[in-house]
Subunit: 107 residues, 2 copies
Amino acid sequence: MEYLADCRARLAFDLLANTWNGVVVWALRHGPQRPVTLRKRIGGISAKVLNETLRRLEDSGLVVRQAYREAPPRVEYRLTRLGESLLGPLETLGTWAETHGDEVVVR
Amino acid sequence: MEYLADCRARLAFDLLANTWNGVVVWALRHGPQRPVTLRKRIGGISAKVLNETLRRLEDSGLVVRQAYREAPPRVEYRLTRLGESLLGPLETLGTWAETHGDEVVVR
């Protein structure tokens, strides 16, 4: 597969160009979650950045927002089928990092 | 695998946070290449950005530079074993993009 600057694979790299995209998709792998729980699971992400990431993932069709008419109102996010389909590549990448993380020199 | 903000898997996502890192590693999968050939294969990358990317990949231990004392002097870049180990995850990501590229809405 030839990866030229303007081709489809670039899209996957661009999607992961924002590190939080991959992290948030992975954090949703076990099912719907409320933002507050997501923030706890992920750690180190501000409410603002989490909201922006969820909005971006929603716009890309990877995540869907579910609002419940309760008092107080409840909102959950879950992966779409497209979002779930990204879990495989994310796991492969994560496994690579677990195995080789120490070898990569981060400057 | 829990992906927290400060853990090893973040490193893989950070590595791919620069889209050109993944593209250049993938373009080197068939063996050593000179920058001028790499630029043709990749398309859409400037000499400056390619050089910066190769330097960054070299610093991370994913690529190695080979200079030949010839007239004119010749330089090639090739993947290290660590760089080669990243080809698997990159291929999985690329295949995902080929399959699902059209479903992802890019805003």
